[in-house]
């Protein structure tokens, strides 16, 4: 047992939720509370087991840690190959934190097919964690698709009135991107076989391949498209408001908290180091689309009447900033972008959760159905306000550190104006979020039916409080997190620079 946890920690973490899901199959359909409690227990155990990743993570080692490698389909050079570095560590922890938070929230709110819901959610966790630790492209692709299916069901079965449209849209968008990526992966493996005579899908082997010209561009675009849809980058974002709005609260939390981040993560882990030349050429596009995302997302968020849709569009804006930081490609901006993904997971997760608290009581997401309820639900109001402040980047909370690093890092890159344009987000985010706060929690109390609103329940409170504590912690002591991120960022930059340099010496650049 001890060896299992020390030598195979990542595998335990990846497969424990699925094992739990498998056990859930044996629960009788009527054992609703037992299924709920069991799923929460599994996700909490998972969280507890993931904590050693934080404590045992070696700050001085830039490369992958907690490595495991077992041949899976040796004929094709596909292996079960996993590892963790500073870029994935925090996303893994974010996943293990947000899963119990989501399940805890759902404890009192999901009534339909509880057993299947819990099971689906646990499978989803395996998919997310697997995608984050996979170092073999075939393995990554499997997990990537494993992640897609449960989310499709979560939206399609437990979602709101337009759930079918939303889940189809989500599925088709994502599939469209990932199919192209699949072709690109196959193409690279074949090229590898042709070049070396050996089949391999291992990331480290494929890193060594050098593609040039149009081939590289096409491969890059295939990957980039898949990830851009996931992020989502303007104008590929329209699946997101529908999916977020129709998904049940737990689904929205995970969708915003983790799934979107996998787009950025995939870009950093695969698209960028595999095709640095094309990535460099397309970086200006990234910056421009990021800037558009920041401003466009914020403006459209301001126009919304539906609380969830507003928060969904705010994600487009926030992720736009993350994309700017990636495009600028400085140590500061990259570290900021990675940190900001975590921050966004916490703040948007909390916002969706608290909107869920209101929705489950009033069964409407219309902003105008509320107003002046701060006196009725003071604790919910306070938590919502803190999440808002985190989201709009108030110094002292987490969001500021990420934004500041992205913008300052971008400012020191050659693309100063991206920072100048992206920084307008500090104004626009305050506009739409504070308007939301005013219209929902403040203003005169007008709707009698809101008198019956009850304040946040203990299970919901714990779920939200965990997120708030993390917001404060990262805001006050960001170095705890940054120390783990930036060595890997520097390694990534070095690897990309080395590959660019070698391409230069071969005169391969067009």
């Amino acid at each position: 047992m001890e060896r299992l946890l020390s030598d195979h920690l990542l595998s335990v973490l990846v497969f424990l939720p699925s094992a739990g899901a498998l056990l859930l199959l044996f629960f009788p359909r009527s054992a609703v509370s037992a299924a709920r409690a069991f799923a929460i227990a599994v996700s909490v155990l998972e969280l507890a087991l993931s904590l050693p990743l934080w404590t045992r993570f070696d700050l001085l080692q830039q490369g992958f840690q907690f490595r495991e490698k077992i041949a899976w389909i040796p004929q094709l050079g596909i292996s079960y190959n996993v590892g963790l570095d500073g870029i994935s560590l925090l996303l893994v922890l974010l996943t293990t934190v947000l899963t119990p938070v989501s399940l805890l929230f759902s404890y009192s709110h999901v009534e339909k097919e509880v057993r299947v819901f819990s099971l689906t959610f646990l499978v989803l966790e395996t998919g997310m964690l697997g995608s984050l630790v996979a170092l073999d492209l075939a393995l990554f692709y499997v997990f990537w698709e494993v992640m897609l299916v449960p989310m499709y069901f979560i939206i399609g079965i437990w979602g709101g009135p337009r759930r079918i449209y939303a889940s189809m849209k989500f599925f088709l968008f994502t599939m469209a991107g990932s199919l192209l990526m699949f072709l690109a992966i196959l193409f690279m493996a074949i090229r590898h076989q042709a070049a070396t005579g050996v089949w391999s899908f291992a990331l480290e082997d494929l890193y060594r391949l050098a593609f040039t010209g149009r081939v590289e561009t096409l491969l890059f675009l295939a990957f980039a498209l898949a990830f851009a849809i996931k992020v989502p980058v303007f104008p590929l974002h329209t699946w997101l408001p529908d999916a977020h709005t129709e998904a049940p609260t737990a689904g929205s939390i995970i969708l915003a908290g983790v799934l979107l981040k996998l787009g950025v993560y995939g870009y950093l882990r695969f698209a960028l180091p595999l095709f640095p030349d094309a990535a460099t050429r397309f970086a200006p596009w990234l910056g421009v689309l990021g800037v558009i995302g920041v401003i466009y997302g914020a403006a459209v968020a301001y126009a919304q009447h539906d609380m969830k849709r507003l928060v969904a569009y705010s994600s487009v804006s926030h992720l736009g900033l993350v994309v700017i930081g990636i495009g600028a490609f400085t140590t500061m901006s990259l570290s900021g972008s990675i940190l900001q993904m975590i921050n966004h997971g916490l703040s948007t997760g909390a916002l969706f959760l608290l909107v869920g608290v209101l929705y489950e009581r009033r069964h409407t997401r219309e902003i105008d159905a509320y107003g002046g309820i701060a006196g009725i639900v003071p604790v919910t109001t306070t938590l919502f306000l803190i999440a808002t402040l985190s989201s709009i980047g108030l110094p002292g909370l987490n969001g500021f550190v990420g934004e500041f690093l992205i913008l300052l890092g971008t400012w020191t890159s050659p693309h100063r104006w991206w920072a100048a344009a992206g920084a307008t987000g500090v104004i626009f985010s305050a506009v739409y979020m504070l308007t939301l706060v005013q219209r929902v929690f403040w203003n005169p109390f007008v709707h009698e039916e809101n008198k019956k609103l009850t304040d946040i329940r203990p299970s919901e409170f714990i779920a939200a409080a965990v997120l708030v504590v993390l917001m404060v912690w990262i805001g006050v002591r960001p170095n705890d997190v940054l120390d783990r991120i930036h060595p890997s960022v520097e390694l990534l930059q070095k690897a990309v620079a080395a590959k660019l340099a070698s391409a230069d010496t071969r005169g391969a650049r067009p």
């Binding site: 849209k169 088709l172 104008p235 329209t238 408001p241 466009y296 403006a299 459209v300 968020a301 301001y302 126009a303 919304q304 400085t330 140590t331 500061m332 570290s335 900021g336 002046g372 701060a374 006196g375 003071p378 402040l389 108030l394 110094p395 002292g396 500021f400 550190v401 500041f404 690093l405 913008l407 300052l408 890092g409 400012w411 020191t412 100063r416 920072a419 100048a420 920084a423 307008t424 500090v426 104004i427 305050a430 506009v431 504070l434 308007t435 706060v437 005013q438 929690f441 403040w442 203003n443 005169p444 109390f445 960001p478 170095n479 940054l482 120390d483 930036h486 520097e490």
Partner: protein, 645 residues
């Protein structure tokens, strides 16, 4: 043993945490003890550092605590600084803060429920935390923590009566307008980092002062951005619009945040960065012009308002304009001197207004008041002292600081004389509108309702005690900065603050003092102007009951309405920015998102469906359809075969 500086902000933070987390379950008396206790403790702690500092050699103390953000070549420490500038700010922020906490015990007692009372004191403590962080920070980012923190408290406290729509809207407006300024502040910080490779004051200012030629080209843009932040926080044209609305907050808040401390943060910031600004003379001129124009503009609006707190708000904007005027003509220390005296007399005025408001059952319209002098003597005398101070009547505090600003403008080359003249005219306006308040409020006959007349009473001791202290300060605070004509060592504050204006290599620091005769003359002129303002207001409003100004207003109805409507700037911004943004937001959503992007998607999905429907016809599972297809195919084949033959 000296107390570390980081303890100062932490004390009120603890108070905030206790009242914020447990407040709803605590009694009012306990909340009071925690809230005011924290304010008292931090004042003691601050003076335990200030007294040795002022009696010592005034050399800058920097106390790093811990690294905050460190990535790549960026390293930001949580590091605190005590130098004459932060010492001056610290001295009145804590003291005025404490007095206003005490005042709030009485003021908020009837205003709120237990939960609201705890919330109020929690926010007030949080404000002290943020303000002390702002003042004591040793780096731009840490100052920004305090900077946005005070903005947050302002937002929360302006919106304290959250169920009143105008209060909620005012809080949001304050935050958003401040964020526009903060956008500039952020870009300014980025510029500083890109230029100097650091965000710590000591490094940045040292580099700038040592190699001015190397850095000055970049500094115009940087200073302009930083000044944009100051314009937002210190409510200057064009970003002043949030401050009058912010009066929706409880009056102690207006006194503490929107008069004495937070709004002066912009002046503090510009003074803190004086080395950078002095290397960007064109920006300095801009600062002076904005300040001078704001002083006049807001002073003009104040003349035609009837809401007591609104008049004081415009007066604050106007006085802040004077402070920027001082900075702009290079008289940073004089500007800070006015920050200090203004904190005393403006806090006194607001607290006096709160006392009046209390007596008048929350009515703030000065047309309903009158004759309150007899029933509220303490409020009257303290308000009068503060009014004389702001009007610039010697020997009250405002006279010395305002006169020093006017003298510095007069000396300044270029536009100096014009700035001086506008400043002088504004001083007359100030005396006029302030004495208009005093005349209408305290003199003459009571004009309110019977119930109000019956209700009018002097405030309780917790409210009058701070009034008396601040009233006295309005008298004596200015004596720290007596003009040079009173002797070489008459001015204490100037040499104390002098070290913050560090010499720049190659720049001549020495400037010629005004001849004494000129100085006497300038003083005489400004006193004469202020006295005329006072006299006119007294004659018109106290003696003649306001008939003359009413006639004057009636003969220029258009102009009067424009001023009374505050030049309709809010309406202008509404048309220029607020509505177009809302329209843009809706259009982007409905046109770009729904119509174009989703339109294309849904159209292509529909196309797929059409193709699918067509193909489905080929495979219906209906035997007759298959038979038909089979039959048609057979005929086609036959025809083909026949054709081939």
């Amino acid at each position: 043993m000296t107390l570390p500086l980081w303890v100062l902000p932490v004390i009120p933070l603890v108070g905030f945490a206790i009242n914020g987390l447990l407040g709803t379950r605590l009694r009012k008396s306990f909340v009071t003890a925690v809230g005011c206790g924290a304010a008292g403790l931090v004042t003691l702690a601050a003076y335990s550092r200030l007294i040795p500092f002022t009696s010592g050699d005034h050399s800058t103390v920097i106390e790093p605590v811990v690294s905050w953000i460190a990535v790549g070549n960026l390293s930001i420490d949580l590091s605190f600084r005590l130098d004459p500038l932060s010492a001056l700010m610290l001295s009145f922020v804590t003291l005025v803060g404490l007095l206003i906490h005490i005042y709030a015990i009485g003021y908020m007692h009837h205003e709120s429920t237990d939960a609201g009372y705890a919330r109020f004191f929690a926010y007030l403590n949080l404000f002290l935390f943020a303000m002390l962080t702002l003042v004591l920070a040793e780096s731009f980012p840490l100052m920004f923590v305090g900077w946005e923190g005070v903005g947050l408290c302002s937002y929360l406290l302006v919106g304290y009566y959250f169920d009143r729509e105008y209060a909620a809207a005012a809080g949001r407006k304050a935050f958003v307008v401040n964020r526009i300024g903060d956008y500039g502040f952020l870009l300014g910080m980025f510029g500083v980092f890109a230029t100097f490779g650091s965000l710590n004051y000591s490094e940045v200012f040292k580099k700038a002062a040592e190699q001015p030629a190397a850095f000055s080209p970049a500094l115009a843009a940087i200073c302009l951005c930083l000044f944009m932040g100051a314009v937002g926080k210190s409510a200057q044209v064009p970003l002043y619009v949030w401050l009058p609305d912010a009066m929706a907050g409880p009056t102690p808040v207006s006194a503490l945040i929107h008069a004495a401390t937070m709004v002066t943060a912009g002046v503090y910031m510009v003074t803190r960065c004086n080395v950078l600004f002095r290397l960007a003379p064109e920006v300095m001129l801009f600062v002076a012009v904005i300040g001078c124009f704001t002083a006049l503009f807001a002073g003009t609006i104040a003349v035609a308002q009837n809401d007591l707190k609104k008049i004081l708000a415009y007066s604050t904007i106007s006085q802040l304009g004077y402070m920027f005027l001082a900075c702009g003509v290079g008289a940073f220390t004089v500007g800070m001197f006015h920050v200090m005296t203004h904190a005393c007399f403006k806090a006194c005025l607001f607290l006096g207004a709160g006392s009046v408001m209390h007596a008048m059952s929350d009515d703030l319209d000065i047309r309903h008041m009158g004759g309150l002098k007899a029933k509220m003597p303490i409020t009257y005398w303290t308000f009068l002292a503060a009014t004389l101070a702001i009007s610039g009547i010697p020997p009250f505090a405002g006279f010395f600081s305002k006169d020093a600003i006017l003298a510095s403008s007069f000396e300044a080359p270029g536009l100096g004389k014009l700035l001086w003249f506008v400043g002088l005219f504004t001083a007359g306006l100030t005396a006029f509108y302030m004495f208009r308040i005093v005349s209408l409020t305290f003199f003459g006959q009571f004009r309110g309702t019977k119930e109000q007349a019956h209700h009018v009473h002097e405030a309780p001791a917790s409210m009058t005690m701070p009034l008396v202290v601040l009233g006295l300060l309005s008298l004596v605070a200015g004596w720290l900065g007596l003009p040079a004509v009173f002797g070489e060592h008459a001015n204490v504050i100037e040499p104390f603050l002098a070290p913050i204006i560090s010499p720049i290599a190659g720049h001549d620091a020495a400037h010629e003092a005004l001849p004494h005769a000129t100085e006497w003359l300038l003083m005489a002129v400004s006193v004469a102007v202020a006295a005329s303002g006072l006299y006119l207001a007294y004659q018109w409003y106290a003696k003649q009951g306001g008939r003359a100004p009413a006639r004057l207003a009636a003969s220029f109805p258009g102009a009067y309405a424009l001023v009374a409507d505050k030049f309709r700037i809010d309406e202008l911004y509404d048309v220029l920015f607020v509505r177009p943004y809302a329209w843009l937001a809706r259009t982007l959503w409905k046109v770009v998102d729904v119509l174009i992007i989703d339109g294309i998607l849904n159209a292509s999905a529909f196309l797929v469906e059409l193709v699918g429907d067509f193909l489905r016809f080929l495979q219906t599972g209906n035997v007759r359809n298959y038979a038909l297809t089979f039959f048609l195919g057979l005929i086609a084949l036959l025809l083909f075969v026949v054709g081939a033959i």
